[in-house]
């Protein structure tokens, strides 16, 4: 038979591997769309309480503690002092604590920040975009993101000072 057969076979098999590999790959890695431990932290672009837009890229090379909260959520309120304490302890060691407020307006957030006396950066997710891309359901939820931008750990529920310290310690190592 024709000598052109083999290259044609190879080209067709290659195309099948390419298309098939993409399809299978996206079902394995892109499955639920919800970020998991070990996956890359989704990007965000939100208005900060300082009036400036912020993205995670600004904190490249730093470990990030990303805390989703709301002023109406009691455990969120309760964990704020622990977050503030850890922010003060670690901020010189390339760790940044970021609070993402879920769906409240600027006034509520400002009052709250003043009331509980915290000074780590706060971003406002009024359109719940970050909530969607991080697949948040209950509040508070905290993501520990390492310096490479990978999610190291996801903590759902109230944080306490000690476990928070351990987690950040692991993140920095």
């Amino acid at each position: 038979m024709g000598k052109a057969r083999k290259p044609i076979q190879i080209v067709i098999l290659f195309l099948i591997v390419l298309v098939g590999g993409y399809a299978i790959g996206s079902s394995v890695f892109g499955g639920s769309g919800k970020p998991e431990e070990g996956s890359k932290a989704p990007s965000i672009d939100l208005l900060g309480l300082d009036g400036v837009g912020h993205t995670l890229d600004e904190y490249k090379g730093k470990a990030i503690v990303l805390n989703f909260w709301g002023s109406w959520c009691t455990p969120c309120v309760k964990e704020m002092p622990a977050l503030q304490a850890q922010w003060e302890k670690w901020k010189d060691k390339d760790v940044v604590v970021i609070g993402i407020n879920v769906g409240e307006d600027q006034m509520t957030v400002e009052n709250f920040v003043k009331q509980v006396d915290i000074d780590f950066p706060i971003l406002m997710d009024t359109g719940r975009d970050a909530v969607r891309s991080y697949g948040i359901s209950p509040l508070p939820t905290t993501f520990f993101i390492n310096a490479k931008g990978k999610i190291d750990n996801i903590h759902i529920g109230q944080l306490d000072l000690d476990s928070l310290d351990d987690q950040i310690g692991k993140l920095v190592d």
Binding site: M1, V19, I24, G31, S32, E104, M107, N111
Partner: protein, 561 residues
């Protein structure tokens, strides 16, 4: 021993044609190849006995992969496995059919241990799982390779048909007639041409030999089906690509412009209406028992963001692109984005009030102002007074320590704490709690709170004159927003499959070969189905040349099924 035999198989036919390995019938004259003992009563006419491409002497790795996928047996196994797999997916509802559940606990709660196992095995998202997609990809590969493996040999066999076939080839067809003819061979053949043409055959002659053929295109039916299926599969796989598919359920409060996530589109619900059937319109057994909606309608306006999109520090600039009154089965449709009516919620949501500051001793009122629930104005001037908004609670309540808190981010029981400064007030100002909703005023005892804050001699009140100063979002509509750009290709694939099915089902490839030599007529006929119709056709053609043949006598041991 048998392997060695296969190695040295002589594939050259006695007519001088060199056939490739795997050929069953000589490509040129049609004489069966191989040992005589292998031959059955009837000939194997699949692909006209031509070798398939995958049949080779020394298969390499690539050939082996190729052979794996070119096997129809493997393809059937794959299809059966896929069917079984998709059956598993229907035992319990798939995760994707729920709006908002925690799958890890849902299946256990709802279906017990079986549900838990179902979830843990990953069957709750069967159709997105790697093994299911792998099966689809393998079926796709099998379709492509099976087709290529057979289409080219078949094409060759059908386009290079020799008119004069070997005697063996003719007599071992399922429809055969061997009889005597007194006429000159060429004259007889010339006579039979016309009746055959009348029946729609294309006829070629060569001396005393003839080949009549019709509806050859129906042989391509299966491959047309394959092409359709490949397009279908590719379209299904492409739905996973970003931007090609979206299916989400979103809430649109009346009167607000809401962004559709992951797009540059914004949708405004101008008015939502729901009408119910009255008792008179309903059948008797439903009266007084059921409330049935007659119409849901969302007056929707779709906007596209033209500038400052996605910049959180700026307001996006929107341009109206289309409007539609969305009803059940009448979605808004704009460039592939569809919004279907899905659900509604008739709970009114307070958006803003316009209270005025009133001096209760003199009865004087000062400046009406607008108080938005979301992002309200922080400083307000009303006559000689200045109001500074100190605190805001969307859903007023008290915590364990008795301090005011907001119980949720939704304006269920909004409350505002102002500091009022101006004439006849203490220099540091006076605090004033304001509950816009009348029920909350009574429930939380606004008067008592304010008396405590400013003393009972205070004379300022915030009051709303009438309902026209209250702005409610009367209801919320839930729309199902869908983008499915792969769908046209799914339909195209399905249409091509249908075309292929029609080609294959309604036409049959019929061929009649005949030779007249030394007063003997040998006729062989082949069709891929409807042998009875074919037999009748042969008989009626022969009748036209005054040859009476019994239909049944044409059967050559094949049963003509």
């Amino acid at each position: 021993m048998s392997e060695r035999e296969a190695f040295i198989t002589n594939t050259k036919c006695e007519c001088g044609h060199q056939n490739p390995v795997g050929t069953v019938l000589c490509e040129a004259c049609g004489k069966p190849l191989g040992k005589e003992s292998d031959w059955g009563d009837n000939l194997e006419m699949r692909y006209d006995g031509v070798a398939r491409r995958s049949q080779r002497v020394n298969p390499s790795i690539i050939d082996r992969v190729w052979n794996f996928f070119s096997s129809v047996k493997i393809a059937i196994y794959l299809i059966v496995l896929t069917l079984l797999g998709s059956m598993l997916g229907t035992i319990f509802p798939q995760e994707s059919t729920f709006l908002n559940i925690d799958a890890s606990s849902y299946y256990k709660q709802e279906y017990g241990t079986a549900g838990d196992i179902y979830y843990k095995l990953g069957l709750s998202h069967t159709y997105e799982s790697w093994w299911f997609v792998t099966l689809l990809v393998m079926i796709g590969a099998s379709l492509v390779i099976c087709s290529l493996d057979r289409v080219l040999p078949l094409y060759k066999a059908l386009t290079r048909q020799k008119i004069r076939k070997h005697r063996q080839f003719l007599t071992r067809q399922k429809a055969v007639l061997v009889t005597e003819v007194q006429e000159e061979p060429e004259a007889w053949v010339a006579r039979v041409v016309q009746p055959m043409r009348k029946k729609g055959y294309r006829v070629k002659t060569e001396g005393g030999a003839l080949l009549a053929e019709k509806h050859r295109f129906s042989r391509w039916g299966p491959y047309v089906i394959h092409i359709g299926l490949i397009i279908f599969l590719l379209a299904v796989l492409a739905r996973g690509l970003p931007g090609l598919n979206m299916d989400q359920h979103l809430a649109f409060p009346q009167g607000e412009i809401t962004q559709i996530p992951d797009t540059t589109y914004y949708l405004k619900n101008e008015k939502f209406t729901v009408e119910f059937y009255t008792d008179d319109e309903m059948p008797e057994e439903f009266r007084g028992k059921k409330i049935l909606p007659k119409l849901f309608q969302t007056k929707a306006v779709l906007y596209k963001c033209t500038a400052d999109c996605g910049d959180p520090t700026k307001e996006p600039q929107l341009t109206e692109v289309t409007t539609h009154d969305i009803q059940v089965n009448s979605p808004l449709d704009y460039k592939g984005l569809k919004a279907y009516q899905f659900d509604y919620d008739l709970t009114p949501v307070l958006r803003s009030v316009q209270p005025a500051l009133k001096n209760s001793t003199t009865g004087e009122t000062y400046g009406k102002f607008k108080l938005d629930m979301k992002n309200p104005q922080r400083t307000i001037t009303a006559g000689p007074y200045t109001l500074t908004l100190k605190e805001k609670y969307m859903d007023f309540g008290l915590n364990e320590d008795g301090q005011p808190i907001s119980k949720s981010p939704y304006p269920n029981a909004p409350a505002f704490l102002f500091l009022i400064q101006g004439p006849d007030l203490p220099a540091e100002g006076q605090q004033y709690f304001y509950f816009p909703k009348q029920v909350d005023k009574t429930q939380f005892q606004q008067v008592a709170i304010n008396d405590k804050l400013g003393g009972s001699s205070r004379f300022l009140e915030l009051e709303v004159d009438n309902m026209s100063d209250v702005d409610f979002s009367e209801s919320t509509t839930y729309l199902n927003i869908r983008i499915d750009r792969a769908m046209p290709f799914v339909w195209l694939g399905a249409a091509i499959v249908m075309l292929g099915l029609v080609l294959g089902f309604y036409w049959q490839h019929r061929r009649i070969w005949l030779t007249v030599t030394n007063g003997e007529l040998i006729l062989g006929g082949h069709t891929n189905k409807n042998w009875f119709g074919f037999r009748r056709e042969i008989v009626s053609i022969l009748e036209k040349v005054d040859m009476v043949v019994d239909e049944k006598s044409l059967d050559n041991g094949g049963g003509l099924t």
